[in-house]
């Protein structure tokens, strides 16, 4: 019943010249998304990927189990000294991420350009 979560990684450069790994998600982010969310993040080389963007532009549904996976990603990123930002969330999920406190550990931006510029 859940739309399978797809994830891919793009390597970009910020306007300041820093390498940025962009994790692009598509579909639902729920309890079944562990491999797509954490697995894709864990496949990034820890020494090279110091700035990470999470792209939620093509995500329609995120539930509390999906939010927990994002928090687990943030925990691992904090432990690895990586900076994480996110973009492309709907107004509703921007509100939900703010409510649960994620914005304390990952800045949210409307689009990729704003997020890249902030890194």
């Amino acid at each position: 019943m859940q739309n399978e979560t797809k994830a891919r990684v793009d390597q970009l450069t910020s306007p300041a010249g820093a390498p940025v790994s962009v994790l692009r998600f598509e579909g639902d982010i729920a309890s079944t998304s562990k491999d797509a969310v954490l697995g894709t993040y864990q496949s990034l080389p820890k020494n090279d990927a110091k700035k990470i963007l999470l792209d939620f532009t093509k995500v329609d549904y995120i539930n509390s189990s999906g939010i927990a996976l994002v928090i687990q990603l943030l925990i691992e990123a904090a432990n690895a000294g990586q900076k994480v930002c996110a973009f492309g969330l709907s107004a509703h999920f921007t509100k939900v991420f703010t409510m649960v406190g994620i914005t304390k550990y990952a800045d949210l931006y409307p689009g990729q350009a704003e997020a890249l510029a902030a890194l």
């Binding site: 509390s64 509703h92 939900v96």
Partner: protein
């Protein structure tokens, strides 16, 4: 004294993850018919989804032989949603999630469903079934609550 007319819609879901989206779609359709603005419809969808996930996972313990009942009662200026399962119900409320504790590994990253439900609707109550089953969560959103 005029009589308030209530329209009821009922859905039964299998206790399988993912089927909460059927309840979300139904709640969304009813709320839109009642004239709720888009942001309140989104709030309701997330609250209903979390209530159904709790019912499927914790109430019915993913038992495929049990179903989750979702009863939507549309009144004149409010929508009530009851999500009913065969569990024993919630006897105490979990603590409010603390992102700092989660980030420092002192709290499970999960466990935000009830917090989201309470934060997104105007009323939320958890009712324990009288004979140890048929417990339910009751959610209410009101039409004029957030009008500008």
């Amino acid at each position: 004294m005029s009589e308030i007319k209530t329209t009821t819609v009922e859905v039964r879901l299998p206790s399988r993850m993912g089927f909460e989206k059927v309840a979300m779609s139904t709640a969304s359709a009813v709320a839109k018919l009642m004239g709720f603005p888009d942001d309140r419809v989104e709030d309701l969808k997330t609250a209903v989804a979390e209530a159904c996930i709790n019912a499927i996972e914790h109430g019915n313990r993913l038992n495929d032989k049990l179903s989750v009942g979702v009863v939507l009662s549309a009144g004149e200026d409010s929508l009530e949603v009851k999500v009913i399962d065969d569990g024993k119900g919630m006897t105490k409320q979990p603590a409010k999630p603390d992102i700092d504790r989660k980030m420092h590994g002192e709290e499970d990253p999960r466990g935000m469903g009830m917090f989201l439900i309470q934060a997104l609707v105007d009323e939320a109550e958890w009712v324990v079934g009288t004979e140890g089953n048929s417990s339910y969560v009751r959610l209410v959103i009101r039409l004029d609550q957030h009008a500008e």
